[in-house]
Symmetry: C2
Subunit: 110 residues, 2 copies
């Protein structure tokens, strides 16, 4: 309950870059990303991911590609773009310094 609320707000702003980090290893499709992120505790449902992927597509951070070669419904594979890679680097810097500040505060409060 209360911990879910905490986690929900923590995820804001982190998720987008976790997707980029995952894609930096190679392309993945939607549900594959969703399952991975759910396992890691970074999303609560697909409802967070698909709107996010749409935004990232519009902003040119990822490049989608339909693949209907397999069986079942066609999958949409996403690859990271150069812009996405740049954003990922920028995020890593901001994250590192913010995480350091938060850790310092938490350390000090014990």
């Amino acid at each position: 309950m209360t911990e879910e609320r905490i986690a929900t707000n923590l995820r804001k702003g982190v998720l987008e870059y976790c997707v980029l980090a995952l894609l930096s290893h190679g392309e993945k499709y939607g549900l594959e990303l969703a399952d991975d992120l759910t396992t890691r505790g970074l999303i609560a449902s697909e409802g967070s991911l698909y709107p996010l992927l749409a935004r990232m597509r519009e902003n040119g951070l990822v490049e989608p590609r339909w693949d209907a070669s397999g069986t079942g419904r066609p999958r949409r594979y996403y690859a990271i773009t150069d812009d996405g890679t740049d954003q990922l680097k920028a995020f890593a810097q901001v994250w590192t310094s913010l995480a350091a500040e938060v850790n310092a505060l938490l350390e000090g409060s014990r």
Copy 2:
């Protein structure tokens, strides 16, 4: 520009607990908190802090006290409550595991 947008979203959900952590050392008043948090890069302006303090007050996480003994305008000092201390502990756990996941992803993407 872009880094500010990144930081803005990262701050969501972190700020409330950074305030609790700061108050766990002893009570502080509004602008004192604001200056400290600004220095640490955790808020961009007081506009984030005062509404947050109002929410935390309503939720019983902090206990305010007017102090007009000194010089200048009266200050409103905030102290952390038992509920606030509990929330801070809960946050520390959620934060630690989420930060570990994010760090793992960033490590892996290099």
